[in-house]
């Protein structure tokens, strides 16, 4: 996208600009009309958890003027984009405009009611846990040159094993270890089949998903259903970080979560640094970009790929354990519900970087949390349709913002030493 030729750029500018103008028109026509005199309250305090040291006042905004103001801002920026263009920054500008549009929508959707902003954002963080960890798994594998579509399978395997181990031992930590090992096992299968036996990696990925679905469903009906005691895992509770957890807004948002959230944030930071600031990461990326050159300078290509894919599976395993040890508290068939694929989309949207993957995971997580918030608000849209929000957003983001990617050059290609 950065190397678009001028006529391409012109067309893209216009397309983005017109898109922004359409957003502005919707915001102005729908959100700003018929709501005169009604106000929306944004509640910023944690109304469910322990009280913080200080509480923030609720933000009350009038619906119509706020929506109109936001519509005008979007229209103004969109017009500039259509006529002059922001060049390379256009994607960021459009993202900000989309954010403003969502804000206008929220103001309108919660009109006359109270929107639990903190609950929405906390829900975003939690929903982002499996997405970011799954995307990290994808980043590790694909940076090393192996396509990992099996994230969904790694989730299911890990979620099942974590539930089983935690139930049997009574320790969520051992459950987490079990989940990590199960994710690593699926990663190892992917590695063996795609690196040693050079099977088509997308096919193997899909097959591993079907296999994990089948095996976990089979064992659920044969093992867990007759023995409910094996499907009652001890879950991770919320851990409040001292001092930091008491800051208003920031505290409950970032520092009052279960272990899985902290692990996710830690994993993103560690992988980001390891990939781009260490010799290990340089070698891993070299293997994914130009295995022959890497081989020539003495890097063991296949061993590096094995390690990356198995490590990726283990990272996804943490995300899988989240489902049973944190979110749900028991295993049910196909409980990951396609989130492995949303994680894949997050990896693509994040352009194969851990930090980008976290950003994308937060966007998709927000869509997920938003559909829950809107069901509570009862905005007049049927809840079944609201549940499509994360998927619609994923399609829009992948089609509109990602476009054609610069993927690692040797991604998906088996390496054969001469």
């Amino acid at each position: 996208m950065t190397t678009a030729t001028p006529p391409d750029l012109d067309r893209r500018n216009r397309r983005f600009g017109i898109f922004a103008l359409v957003l502005a028109a919707i915001a102005g026509a729908v959100f700003a009309t018929g709501t005169a005199g009604v106000a929306t309250t944004f509640q910023l305090n944690d109304v469910f958890g322990e009280p913080a040291y200080a509480t923030l006042p609720a933000v009350v905004v009038p619906v119509a003027p706020t929506a109109l103001f936001l519509a005008l801002v979007i229209a103004g920026v969109g017009l500039y984009q259509a006529v002059r263009g922001f060049g390379d920054r256009a994607t960021i500008v459009i993202s900000v405009l989309l954010g403003l549009f969502v804000l206008a929508f929220l103001v309108w959707a919660a009109r006359g009611q109270q929107l639990q902003v903190l609950a929405l954002l906390r829900g975003t963080m939690r929903a982002a846990v499996p997405l970011a960890l799954g995307a990290l798994s994808g980043v590790l594998c694909e940076r090393a040159g192996v396509i990992n579509i099996a994230i969904e399978g790694q989730f299911l395997a890990a979620a099942f094993t974590a539930a089983l181990v935690s139930s049997a031992t009574g320790s969520p930590w051992l459950g987490l270890v079990g989940g990590i090992l199960a994710g690593g096992l699926v990663g190892a299968l992917l590695a063996v089949l795609s690196i040693r036996y050079r099977a088509d990696q997308i096919v193997v990925g899909v097959v591993l998903i079907v296999l994990a679905t089948g095996v976990t469903s089979f064992l659920t009906s044969q093992l867990l259903v007759p023995n409910p005691g094996l499907n009652a895992p001890d879950r991770f509770g919320a851990v409040t970080v001292p001092v930091l957890g008491d800051i208003p807004l920031i505290g409950p948002l970032l520092f009052r979560h279960s272990v899985t959230v902290y692990l996710m944030l830690l994993a993103v930071v560690v992988v980001q640094i390891a990939l781009f600031r260490t010799r290990w990461g340089l070698r891993l990326r070299a293997v994914g970009e130009h295995p022959k050159a890497a081989d020539t300078v003495g890097i063991r290509v296949l061993a590096t790929r094995y390690r990356a894919v198995i490590l990726g599976g283990m990272v996804a395993g943490i995300g899988g354990a989240y489902f049973t040890l944190d979110a749900a508290g028991q295993f049910s068939r196909e409980m990951s519900g396609g989130r492995g694929f949303i994680a894949l989309a997050a990896m693509l949207v994040g352009r194969y970087s851990p930090a980008g993957a976290l950003g994308a995971a937060l966007i998709f997580g927000f869509a997920d949390a938003l559909s829950t918030s809107l069901q509570i608000l009862n905005v007049g849209i049927p809840s079944t349709l609201l549940l499509t929000a994360p998927y619609v957003v994923t399609i829009l983001v992948v089609a509109g913002l990602v476009g054609r990617l610069r993927m690692p050059a040797a991604d998906g290609q088996p390496y054969v030493k001469e």
Partner: protein, 430 residues
């Protein structure tokens, strides 16, 4: 592979990362082919070698061996999930015979029930045929885009779209004669699925959005939209609160072939469609261009073909077939739209197409085979209590072994000269 008690089902010699270097005995230099030009690799060999290679290297032998391997691994699953076997495992070292014979009898019993349930009589054969009808169609819906290097995971959504539209025309349109109403409803199903396949096609052609992601998202959207539709008065059966639609008019029902058996005339549709698709892929310009785009998009573009057009047409055609599958399920079998009526047919289509190696004949054969597995699995679940999910495990294992022919050859120590990879789909860059 999550089973905590069964790590031993892996027949793969566990390769330490270091041992997995490229100098395996069965990997020859001849297999170092260009990814884009899958030329026959044993052209230089003598006639005898070529014959041996043709037999041992063909997908038929590998497929049969894959099937055997999958059955063996599946038997381990059956055995290990059985209480009696696990108990006899407790004194395995003292009396290994007990555990082994218990495992053998349990899995033999399950597989026996599976086999009888698939082909044991007229009723069973009818059930196999009934199950195979949608599987062949969704299998073709995956096989066609595979020609163009695309992976259609959206069969599920396309089945739902086709079934919902066909069902709607089936119950909402009234007063038409059979000869008009049934074709209209079937056509509506085809168009519904086609529209749902067109979407990822146009998105890929215009914006480069990868079809694997967009089709998965569309699957989930289709499920929720169907749930929504089934909650509206226009669709919902009067007096019911669960997601079930009104009944299709008698004039739009695909009739049964034999009285008392569920096999319906969708079978004939499948035969006609399969022949037409074979002609389209193997004999028509469209099929040639589709394959050309899949093999080498740059060369196809240089030759004046439009890759974008092939992407859109390929996925739209795939959607049409999956939509027909959905329509046949509703009009021929259920006569009502229910929540989750597609039941994974779209995903089964992936395994069917992969087992059929993307060819029309292979896909039809694989569809019949998996139809038999499905029908037999249901009867097995009733007879021995072994969960139907075993069939999914078996399907996945079969494809796993088929997708990695080198793995099967390594297990059975076959020296092969065929292509080392089972490469079918393309990576992200396609």
């Amino acid at each position: 592979m999550t089973t905590p008690e069964g790590p031993d089902e892996r027949q793969v010699p566990p390769p330490s990362p270091d041992a997995a270097s490229a100098d395996e005995p069965e990997v020859r230099g001849a297999e170092e082919r260009d990814r884009e030009h899958a030329a026959p690799v044993h052209a230089a060999a003598g006639p005898m070698e070529r014959f041996v290679a043709a037999v041992t290297g063909t997908s038929v032998v590998v497929t049969i061996l894959a099937f055997v391997s999958a059955m063996v691994v599946g038997a381990l699953f059956i055995a290990l999930s059985e209480e009696a076997v696990r108990e006899s495992m407790g004194y395995f070292l003292a009396r290994p015979g007990d555990a082994l014979s218990a495992a053998w009898s349990v899995s033999a019993e399950a597989y026996g029930a599976l086999f009888r349930g698939a082909v044991g009589g007229a009723y069973q054969l009818s059930e196999t045929g009934t199950a195979a009808i949608p599987l062949i169609l969704t299998g073709l819906a995956v096989a066609i885009p595979l020609r163009a290097g695309m992976f259609n995971i959206g069969g599920e959504g396309q089945v739902i779209a086709g079934g919902v539209v066909a069902g709607f025309v089936g119950f909402a349109v009234t007063g038409l004669p059979f000869l008009v109403h049934l074709p209209l409803a079937i056509l509506a199903g085809i168009l519904g699925g086609a529209a749902y396949g067109f979407l990822p096609g146009i998105l890929k052609a215009r914006t480069g959005a990868h079809e694997v992601i967009t089709t998965i998202m569309l699957n989930n959207i289709a499920i929720y939209v169907t749930d929504y539709l089934l909650s509206t008065d226009r669709f919902r059966l009067e007096g019911r609160s669960d997601p079930i639609s009104k009944t299709v008019e008698a004039s739009a029902v695909l009739p049964r072939i034999f009285a008392g058996l569920r096999l319906h005339w969708g079978l004939l549709l499948v035969v006609v469609v399969a022949v037409a698709i074979w002609w389209l892929l193997e004999r028509s310009t469209f099929g040639f261009e589709l394959t050309a785009v899949g093999k080498n998009p740059d060369a196809a573009r240089a030759a004046g073909m439009s890759t974008g057009r092939m992407i859109v047409l390929g996925l739209t055609l795939a959607g049409a077939l999956a939509g027909l599958a959905g329509g046949a399920q509703i009009l021929g079998l259920q006569q009502r739209i229910t929540g989750g009526f597609s039941g994974g047919l779209g995903f089964d289509g992936i395994t069917v197409a992969l087992l059929g190696r993307g060819s029309v004949g292979g896909t039809v054969a694989a569809g019949v085979l998996f139809g038999a597995l499905k029908a037999g699995g249901r009867s097995m679940q009733g007879a021995t209590g072994t969960s139907l999910d075993l069939v999914v495990v078996l399907q996945a294992l079969i494809i796993l072994f088929v997708a990695a022919p080198a793995l099967v050859r390594a297990i059975f120590r076959i020296r092969a000269q065929g292509p080392a990879t089972g490469e079918l789909a393309k990576g992200w860059g396609a």
